[in-house]
Structure formats: structure tokens, C-alpha cells
Symmetry: C2
Subunit: 340 residues, 2 copies
């Protein structure tokens, strides 16, 4: 029997996430009959790699999505706002990587390993992919939440510059080289020097003093784990790392779970790799484990000495792969197999 | 009236902390009649700068501390273990920067702005300087603890490589340059690559799954704030920054304090500079604020949406200055003025 193949559109094909998305579609042999790479008119006319072939980049503004089965969007919230409904109206399943629709009650927010069932109900034809920081957090915490319930999450993030796109990576590279050559490193993409520095500010400040990046972790965690009672207290920090986000996570559960029990759950959890030995290198880091890899890596699992129901974890993943492109492709796979 | 002057010994004079200690003694015009720079026999014979003069480095092993008023130690725990009691027995006030004596009940652990009174009672003639991560934490939290009491502290650190001494700084510089030149960056000082990476491991692992660096923050915070009931839950992480430690701090107080009240307390607190505007750059970072500076900088003050008595802060300081050398000199100043 011939496998059914699909017509795929990738909006933002020249961006950091778009590039990896094309790579993952090819690597995972997603059944593609036609691949349409789309970007703003500025990038249209260039080419991107898909498998062994170069594909021309077409202008999103004038493209009609006619006959497209799945349209991936990762070109920023305003682009999704304008063009995703158009793609959905043309009949495509839209998988949106931006934050634009994430809080809409009629748009499911789905992590393949956590709440795939939520994808079935998509009245607008749009499915949202969570923020990268939320993604790795819920993949690791879902098995614990299912077992004993999570009451509260204190999380501090160590987020790589690729989360800010290509311009973020360029800025870290440029500033680092300038500083090593005794030149001034002027900030452009970030609010202050990112090379050899850390910046506690990602996305806009909100009324309550949290940033929007932090509040995304609150709203999205509650929505994906389908539990608005989960309390989340994040501090989101940019660090001079190219690929891979890390998170120091301190949770309080509703019933006691030992570190050994948590480790057992995590070792068996889909999409999770436990790296937890109490010795040199016995924990995941962005460079040694996560960069370019699919799983969410968890280490430093220990019972919190400051709380009877506390548990600490260190969670690391490639923010561009599992944090964005990989999950988007996994959602398309679920749909293509009729599982969502 | 002539100011009384003192004979000062600096053990570890060629190290990262020793160098800054000599600089701060000169900058703050500490009344020095004689400065004896000491180090291991390997470094003896070299010279270090003190004010405008070069001072020969003498061999610690054969030095007798005769007539020395104050001896600063920052050459590692084993050096302090062996030589600090000898210096104290010779009549010197020992101010020890290592962790060796910090938990001894007959050795006070003192932060100049927080518990200077504790310095008066020093039966062994030794006073300990806290760990750099604890130092900046308690300077910022002491005013809040005094006002409403602190019940629990969740803290994730972003610690610069200078905390690992000169070899840590060398490794970050060397690896960064190797990677920018497409060479391999092999780890030596740290357990894995530190350039463009973060490592959740500082000092040895303990039985309970925390590292020794993390447990130092527990023990030392309780000792300095003179409150063994304070619960502390730290995750200590090394980041690719040269100077300045940052901390994402989530506290739970015993009585309610608003962010506005906390900000008011912090703005008036000795040794603290509040940098807290909800706009681009309106928060401290290691590079923009702390590096080479004396104060502890605090920003991102906000009420914790996940806890009725929760408060979040972002605390940054130069780990070599306030985190080590500066506090040591401040303790000597208190003593020299007869205040401790």
C-alpha cells in the first residue's frame, strides 16, 4: 500500500526554527509530496535546503495555500496573526510556533508527549506549539504531575540566544569576538551586552513585574497540564549559550514523592532522558547533552531540604528542536497518522 | 594625632582574590605600615603590586607572622587549615576567605553590613568571610529578614568563572577563543566545556544530592542571619561570565511585605543599590553593574504570584570584591576602628 503523502508549507523557512524544521522533516522522513518554503518578500527568491534538494523561497504575501495539508508558522506573532487564519481557511492544518494564538481558548496548545488528545478539538484549524521554556518544563514535569500532582513550581531559566532567533546568535558571536579582540561590544538585539553576561529580561515587562516570557510559562503550563490550580513562579534569564535552554526547577507536589520515585518515573517517561549521577559530568548541560538532540534531559533530581513536599530538578533541552521545530513536526506526525 | 598603622599579611597574594584585596586595601587607604605578600614557594620570589609599589612575594611555609596585626587568607582551605592557626597564635587577627573554618562554632562568620557584632567574639583569633554566593544573598536579604522574617529561600545562581580562581578565568578565555577558531575546547578546570555553556555543579556532591557550594549557602545563611529556622533550597550553576555572580531569588516571608515596601527597605540598606525599573536595562547584570564595583545590586523585585507571602528578587554583585576581598577588608576596617 502506498503511504499517503502531504503538501507542506513552512512559513519562516529562512529563520532559525524554519531551518531546523526543514531538517527534522527530512530526518524523520515525514511523507512530503510537495514542500513550499515561504518567507517575507525580503527573503523570497533565495533558496533553502530540504533533504538533498534546494527549494526556492516564495513570497508569503502572495501565496494562497491552495491544497496545502499542513502549514507550519514560525515567522513571528504578527505574521501568524495575519496569515495563519488565511492558511486555515484554505484548508490547511496550521501548526503555529508563535505565541499569538496560545492563550485562545479555541486553539489547543499541545506537547506531543503530554496532551496529544487536546489536538483533536481545533475549531479554527490552528494548533499552537508552546514556548520553548514551557515545552521542556512540561515534558519533564507531566509524569510527576500525573503521579502526585504539582502544587507549585519555582523556576529560574538559563536560556540560549538562539531563542531570540538568528539575530540573537549573530549578536553573541559578534560581541564575543569583539571582546576577545579588545573592542567594544555594543548591544543591538539584546538590551545589554550578552557576551560573558546574563540578562534577566526576555520579552516585555508586564504590570505585575514579571516579563511576558515568564508569564507565558505560567499560562502555558496551566493550559498544557490542564490544571489552572498549578502555581508557577518563573524568572527567565538569557545566558551566553548558542543552543539549549536549562532550567533550575524547584517544585512542591500535592503528595510526597521521593527522589528515587521521581527518577523512576522520569526514566520511563516519553521524550525524557535521565542523566543523574552525583559525579563530575553526571548531569545534562546544553553543550554536552542537549544541543542538536531531541530529548528533554533531566538531572540533579533531589528532595528539597527546605520543603516536606519539595523536589528539585535540572531540565535541559535544545530550544530549537524539542523547544520548537521538533514538537511542531511531532504534532504533524500525530495528525498524519490519524492520531489527532 | 597620627593615625595608627598596621602590619598586614596577605596569604595567596598572587591569586584572583589576593590581587583584588591588595587593590582594595590601597584604594580604601587602609592604614598599612608594612605589607607582607605571601604565597606558596612556587610563587615566592615574584612581585605583586600594592598601591604604586611592587612588593616581593615571600614564602608562606617559612614565614613566622611575627608582629603581624591582620593576616588575610585566600589560598584555599588546606592552606588556611595549616597556616591560619599559626598566624593567630603569633597574635594576628586572621580573616579567612576559605570555607575551612566557616562552620566552626568558635569562629564567627561575618558580613560587614549584616552581623558586624558577631566579630567581637573570636576565641581562636580567626574570623571567616562567607562564600561569595551567600555574601550577596544575605546583604540583600538581611533588611527584609529584619523587617518581616524570612521563612524559606529558593535560589538559583548564575556564578562567574572567577569564583573558581585564575584558572577558571583562563579556561573560559582559552575555550572561547578555541571555539571561535573552530578548534576543540577541552575541559580541565571545569567538569565540562564552560564556554557557551552552563554547568549545574560547583564543589563536591553531598549525600543529599546537593553540592557543597549549595549547602554552604544553607549553612552560612542560617549562621550569618542568626536564624537556624531559615530554610534554603539552592541550585548553584556556573555560567560563562568572567566577573559577577547573579542570583534568581524567590523568598517566602513570615509576614507579608509588598514589593514597594521591600524596594524601600533595599534602597535604604547599607551596601545595597536598587536598580529596579521595568524597562530595557532597568535591572542589574554582572557586566553593566557589578563587575569591579563594591555594592550588591538588586532588581526585578516583585510579589510572587504563586505564594501569598512570596517575593522575588534578582541579586548581582562582583564575587571577587563584595563576594570576597572587599568584605575581608571591611572586617579589618571594623577591627582597626575598634568597632569589632
Amino acid at each position: 500500500m502506498d503511504q499517503k503523502k502531504f503538501r507542506i508549507a513552512v512559513v519562516g523557512a529562512t529563520g532559525a526554527v524554519g531551518e531546523v524544521l526543514l531538517k527534522i522533516l527530512a530526518q524523520r522522513k515525514f511523507p512530503v509530496s510537495e514542500l513550499v518554503a515561504l518567507a517575507s518578500s525580503r527573503s523570497a527568491g533565495s533558496e533553502v535546503a530540504f533533504g538533498r534538494k534546494q527549494t526556492p523561497v516564495r513570497d508569503l504575501e502572495t501565496y494562497d495555500f491552495d491544497g496545502i495539508d499542513v502549514a507550519f508558522f514560525s515567522a513571528g506573532g504578527s505574521v501568524s496573526a495575519k496569515h495563519a487564519p488565511r492558511a486555515a481557511a484554505a484548508g490547511a492544518l496550521v501548526i503555529d510556533n508563535t505565541s499569538h494564538f496560545r492563550n485562545d481558548s479555541d486553539v489547543p496548545l499541545v506537547v506531543a508527549e503530554v496532551n496529544p488528545h487536546a489536538m483533536r478539538d481545533r475549531p479554527r484549524g490552528i494548533v499552537s506549539n508552546p514556548n520553548c521554556s514551557t515545552m521542556q518544563l512540561v515534558v519533564a514535569l507531566a509524569p510527576i504531575h500525573r503521579a502526585v500532582g504539582i502544587d507549585r513550581i519555582n523556576v529560574a531559566t538559563y536560556q540560549s540566544v538562539s531563542g531570540a532567533g538568528r539575530s540573537g546568535m549573530d549578536e553573541l558571536g559578534r560581541q564575543t569576538s569583539q571582546l576577545l579582540n579588545f573592542k567594544k561590544a555594543r548591544p543591538k538585539r539584546f538590551t545589554c551586552q550578552i557576551a560573558f553576561n546574563v540578562i534577566p529580561h526576555i520579552d516585555d515587562f508586564q504590570e505585575n513585574g514579571y516579563t511576558r516570557e515568564e508569564m507565558k510559562m505560567v499560562w502555558e503550563t496551566q493550559k498544557i497540564l490542564e490544571d489552572p490550580a498549578i502555581k508557577v513562579n518563573p524568572t527567565a534569564v538569557r545566558v551566553p549559550v548558542f543552543f539549549g535552554h536549562a532550567e533550575a526547577v524547584h517544585i512542591e507536589t500535592r503528595a510526597k514523592i521521593t527522589a528515587a520515585q521521581a527518577r523512576e518515573l522520569l526514566a520511563a517517561a516519553p521524550g525524557v532522558v535521565l542523566v543523574d549521577e552525583r559525579k563530575d559530568g553526571g548531569y545534562p548541560t546544553p553543550v554536552t547533552h542537549a544541543s542538536g538532540q531531541d530529548p528533554v534531559f533531566v538531572g540533579r533530581v533531589r528532595e528539597d531540604i527546605s520543603h516536606p513536599l519539595g523536589l528539585d530538578l535540572w531540565i535541559v533541552a535544545d530550544n530549537i528542536r524539542k523547544g520548537a521545530a521538533l514538537n511542531a513536526v511531532q504534532l504533524a506526525e500525530l495528525w498524519s497518522r490519524g492520531e489527532a
